[in-house]
């Protein structure tokens, strides 16, 4: 049975926090709930961006998701 929205958000946040890489593809979150359709996971991830729990990172051709502070830390480390 698919997770409810809040449980799915928590699972996505945990994945984004524990992942070795600060940026993740949307497909990387599919494993958070194999019973949820890709489109549902995409909608939840985008809602989390609006809430500030995730942020977009884009190369221009590809867009990834991550915890805002982790992405910012990585960006700053590149500048140093």
């Amino acid at each position: 049975m698919a997770l409810d929205k809040e449980a799915l958000k928590d699972a996505i946040e945990e994945k984004a926090t524990k992942s070795p890489k600060p940026q993740l593809y949307i497909k990387d979150f599919y494993a958070c709930d194999p019973d949820s359709k890709p489109r549902v996971i995409k909608n939840v991830a985008n809602e989390m961006v609006r809430e500030g729990r995730l942020a977009f990172w884009s190369s221009g051709s590809t867009t990834m998701y991550g915890i805002p502070s982790r992405i910012q830390d990585e960006e700053h480390s590149k500048e140093d």
């Binding site: 593809y25 949307i26 497909k27 990387d28 359709k37 890709p38 489109r39 995409k42 985008n46 961006v49 609006r50 942020a55 977009f56 990172w57 884009s58 190369s59 221009g60 051709s61 590809t62 867009t63 998701y65 805002p68 992405i71 910012q72 960006e75 590149k78």
Partner: protein, 426 residues
């Protein structure tokens, strides 16, 4: 007064053609950050390496596309381009602008950005080059609230859909490309502004097989106008062309004497399927053999027109050369009615079928055409519920093995093998 010495770039001004270096120098007179573009480019020519970094978390609130982060890797040396983000503004359908609209857009970009532009990017958007992160939200506010325009797509989003001029000015357009493009742009706002897919996704709409937006080469779903019945022939106009009273190609090749129009040499002999011939002074076409190349219609537009039973062919999977080279999209649906009367229902259903499959099985950074190539056209057709037809076959098979599915085998895979062998003794 130039801020940097640019001898290599200066050479590019010496030819007879217009030079982007001259343009940037002119722009730098009012936007001094443009001197740093020339400086960093000159250094890249010397170092033979780019000094641009791309990507980042720049964007406007609520949107996951439309802004592409660009930074210089030598910000102290070139402070004017420390941030030099690209903004993609959705173009109007068919790229119809008023000069008032363009002036206002340019004023806005002079206010918030470098004033440099690129009309248009290959997706079709207006590309505004160079602004700082802190200018993005004010620019976006003015763009949306003062001009009623919107950002386009970037990243793993649906990219800004594009279309040819369609029925607004072209009598060959077999469906209303502007209506279709506008409808789907509004219908898929979420997919344009927020990343949804494993990678970028584009659709483009051409009204006829001339394919003026090159959708077959550039879009994941190409919607190309076509017709089901026969090319409409006006035999009286054919005679006028033969007599030299109407200029061939609508007069497009005037300015040089190409000699008398020769219908045999210029039309009939150039038909790729050899489906045309003259009977006396009448032109005949075996329409069943026509591949919709459009050549005869292009040469004799007053005599020939697309058929009256019109719709579109749907092709899937074009892409540029990152993996396995560039590829054209593959014909999937030879004919589909494309109409606003039913909100483009059949096309919407098709698009979402492709997305559902690709979002599930597509790898990260894999275009749908690459997914089709990896898993095979038969798999794609099966998923889409489309029966294979001769138009799907590119060439005779080279794989001698036939794999049967259980439902295709009488009695299934669990049938009584002894009973079978009694009837088919070795």
């Amino acid at each position: 007064m130039a801020k940097h010495e640019t001898p290599l770039l200066d050479q590019l001004e010496s030819g007879p053609w217009p030079s982007f270096v001259t343009d940037i120098k002119k722009q730098a007179e009012t936007k001094p950050e443009c001197w740093d573009i020339l400086g960093i480019l000159e250094l890249s020519y010397k170092d033979r390496i780019t000094h641009w970094k791309h990507g980042g978390i720049v964007g406007v609130f609520g949107y996951g596309g439309g802004i592409v982060g660009r930074y210089a890797d030598l910000p102290k040396q070139f402070p004017g381009v420390e941030h030099f983000h690209t903004v993609r503004v959705a173009q109007p359908a068919s790229k119809y602008y008023s000069t008032a609209n363009l002036r206002k857009l340019m004023d806005l970009w002079e206010k918030h950005g470098s004033g440099m532009t690129n009309f248009h990017g290959s997706t079709g958007d207006v590309i505004l080059l160079g602004t700082r992160t802190e200018n993005l939200e004010p620019f976006f506010w003015d763009l949306t609230h003062e001009m009623g325009q919107d950002l386009g797509g970037s990243g793993s989003n649906l990219r800004t859909p594009a279309n040819c001029i369609g029925q607004s000015r072209c009598e060959w357009s077999c469906y209303d490309t502007e209506e279709c493009c506008h409808f789907l742009t509004m219908h898929y706002q979420d997919e344009i502004h927020r990343p949804a897919f494993p990678y970028k996704f584009k659709f483009k709409f051409s009204g006829c097989p001339n394919d003026c937006v090159a959708s077959i080469a550039r879009s994941d779903i190409s919607v190309i106008g076509t017709w089901k019945d026969n090319i409409r022939i006006d035999q009286a106009a054919v005679k006028e062309y033969v007599a030299g009273n109407y200029p061939a190609n609508g007069g497009a090749h005037s300015g040089k004497d190409w000699g008398k129009f020769d219908i045999q040499k210029e039309v009939i002999d150039l038909c790729p399927t050899e489906c045309m011939w003259m009977e006396g002074d009448e032109l005949k076409i075996d329409d069943a053999e026509c591949t919709r190349c459009m050549h005869c219609i292009n040469v004799m537009p007053r005599a020939l027109r697309p058929g009256a039973d019109q719709g579109a062919s749907i092709c899937v999977g074009a892409k540029a050369p990152i993996l396995d080279g560039a590829q054209f999209s593959t014909l999937i649906v030879p004919f589909m009615k494309v109409s606003a009367d039913n909100d483009f229902e059949e096309l919407v259903e098709f698009i979402e079928g492709v997305w559902d499959w690709w979002m599930e099985v597509g790898k990260n950074r894999e275009r749908v055409g690459e997914t089709m190539q990896r898993l095979g056209l038969p798999t794609f057709l099966k998923v889409m519920g489309i029966e294979p037809i001769p138009q799907h076959v590119k060439e005779p098979r080279s794989n001698p093995y036939v794999f049967w599915k259980e439902e295709e085998v009488e009695g299934g895979f669990e049938r009584d093998i002894d009973e079978f062998r009694r009837k088919h003794a070795a």
